[in-house]
Subunit: 265 residues, 2 copies
Amino acid sequence: MNKTDLVYHIRRKRSFLCVGLDADLDKIPKHLLAYKDPVFEFNKRVIDATKDACVAYKPNIAFYECLGNKGWESLEKTLDYIPDTHFTIADAKRADIGNTSRKYARAFFEHFDFDAVTIAPYMGSDSVLPFLEYEGKWVILLALTSNKGSRDFQFLESSGKPLYQSVMETAQSWGTPDNLMFVTGATHPEKFKELRQIAPDNFFLVPGIGAQGGDLKAVMKYGMNEEVGLLINSSRGIIYAGGDSTDFEQQVGAAARDLQGMMVF
Amino acid sequence: MNKTDLVYHIRRKRSFLCVGLDADLDKIPKHLLAYKDPVFEFNKRVIDATKDACVAYKPNIAFYECLGNKGWESLEKTLDYIPDTHFTIADAKRADIGNTSRKYARAFFEHFDFDAVTIAPYMGSDSVLPFLEYEGKWVILLALTSNKGSRDFQFLESSGKPLYQSVMETAQSWGTPDNLMFVTGATHPEKFKELRQIAPDNFFLVPGIGAQGGDLKAVMKYGMNEEVGLLINSSRGIIYAGGDSTDFEQQVGAAARDLQGMMVF
């Protein structure tokens, strides 16, 4: 999906919500465990309950990889089930030397047909460029992440610039706002004015709302640009909103609509 | 495998060679494509040909992930086939928020039973610690990588220290030389004296010999410590040494023995 279409869906739906499909067998409603593929059954119900309130889905690949072959099957079926009107993100945080990154790009853009993949910047240009070579596909590069460990290295200053800034500035010479987004965590709301100055035109994928405690209002106030420019992700806060109940889909849908309702633009 | 056993195998075999099992369907000998699982058939022959000359095997996960379910099956069979006397490394370069890194740790240490996994440091402590919590397992953290893109961010200086140094120093408060190694690329041979000073007791996994043009002699001269402290990886230089020939195993074995022969200690 290209940027024009993404912005179209955001405006039409009045939503820039991304739902994180991080199905965990220990946490999904117990009645689903009787099915042959409980992860897919859960995702299917979550997608049905949230698709009118969100514009994107983001399976975190770790939750599938830890289940081995069965997990990859669940992921394939989930991808097939997501409507074409929704932007799909493989939250994989991959990157390797160029020769190897090409294989990861093939995995996520060819074997699966994701629109975007999250990428870790540490290994630099040749680890990222193979993903950007795919026409119509996106890199979402880690810049300032939402977790506690983001404070270990991402704020280290070099020539007066924190590492996340160097990453965002350098990466803008690799890609354009049409194929490059950044991950910027909602747990650093005070930084969004600065982040938007560093990358005025790129979309930000914003995790950290909900379970991680981020601040949606501050993110919207300082993070939006003329094309909205934000995808706000919530995973646990939405998909587990219904707990163990047999009609958990009701609360899942309500949680998504609640977040959508806060998106004023 | 713990450090005592790893050092025992290194000394007994007079080898600290790691063979990278990066099987690529476009590059393996064509006669193997007739088999049901060409990747496994190739790996099996490479393992048979090299196991007396090396102490470790390192499948790069990208090469399996890009094949979907079939790739994961090939990887499982390959892991089962590697003798218990050999240290196994999942070259995965993973890391995510703590909650998610736990899933990756489960994938590589429980679903598969790898001894070690390579980890990207950008997301900091909580992205790495879940891997270190596994008794008897290892984290191999990216420090100074072998690729061209290593120059983009890893040399950025903060308080007079390049980023790779900050990573290596900080990570030594997370793990010990008994569960933490660093990736240090052979394409930066002039840095090994300094790298060894930063982490005197940790093993280094050294890629970049062979296809990437690294300098083995300089790495050995400055990188060794009293427990040897090095695992030198070669992937393409060994596994594709036999080209398309039906008895490619001969040259694969010879290439491994050639590298082993250069390991004087």
